[in-house]
Symmetry: C2
DNA sequence: ACCAATTATCGTAATATTGCAATGTAATTA
DNA sequence: TAATTACATTGCAATATTACGATAATTGGT
């Protein structure tokens, strides 16, 4: 039904899936890459950089912000978005732990 | 439009997003965790383990298979699914590289 | 050949996501 | 204060995802 049965899964499984979903769009990957390389930037930069409409970028930024992956500092009339370092580390170790849990032996 | 403008992004960005999308559902996380801990298992096990219908599990397995994350070996009437070690490593290093690209310094 | 078990596929309904034009809001400048 | 700039939000259309019943397709045993 397009509705995920969240209650069937562990909190960790839901959390991992939610974070993965945050990364599950090339525009959001591109935004994060741009934030990383620019070491902070603003929405209008991104509209130039990617070829998407301002409303669309704003929507993607909101998703990343809601997940806590990025944070926006109001800077006069514009907003300076950047990576949230602590959340970034949290996700990194959560995903890292997941991928490390496979021993490499199989079948 | 619910349609991703793939052409706007780099191959790497699209690849990362596609892999993340594969992990972007708790059922698929649960399937992978189960495959890891069981060191191979079959669909009917998963139907017991998770509380989803057989058709739904089969659909999630197909997605993971299409991405190359898992592989299925026919074993009599049933199928023994397991992690694809080389693809697992590939994803691990791709994602790892992405998360390592952030220096930790910001704003 | 027949039947049961296992998995895949099809069809369909419910919901989610993506994208953008239009509009709203807040700070900035003229 | 009116115009401008920079984002955010709303509303909507197109498409994707999730879930499952029904129904194939394949294999194993009788």
């Amino acid at each position: 039904m397009g509705v995920t049965k969240t209650n069937l899964f562990t909190e960790r499984q839901n959390e991992l899936a939610k974070l993965a979903k945050g990364l599950a769009h090339p525009a959001r990957i591109a935004i994060l890459e741009h934030l990383i390389s620019s070491n902070a930037c603003i929405n209008s930069d991104l509209v130039q950089e990617l070829g998407l409409a301002q409303a669309t970028i704003s929507q993607h930024l909101r998703e990343l912000k809601d997940l806590g992956i990025i944070q926006g500092n109001i800077e006069g009339a514009s907003i300076s978005y950047c990576i949230n370092p602590s959340k970034w580390d949290e996700i990194k170790s959560l995903l890292g732990g997941f991928f490390d849990s496979f021993s490499g032996k199989c079948c």
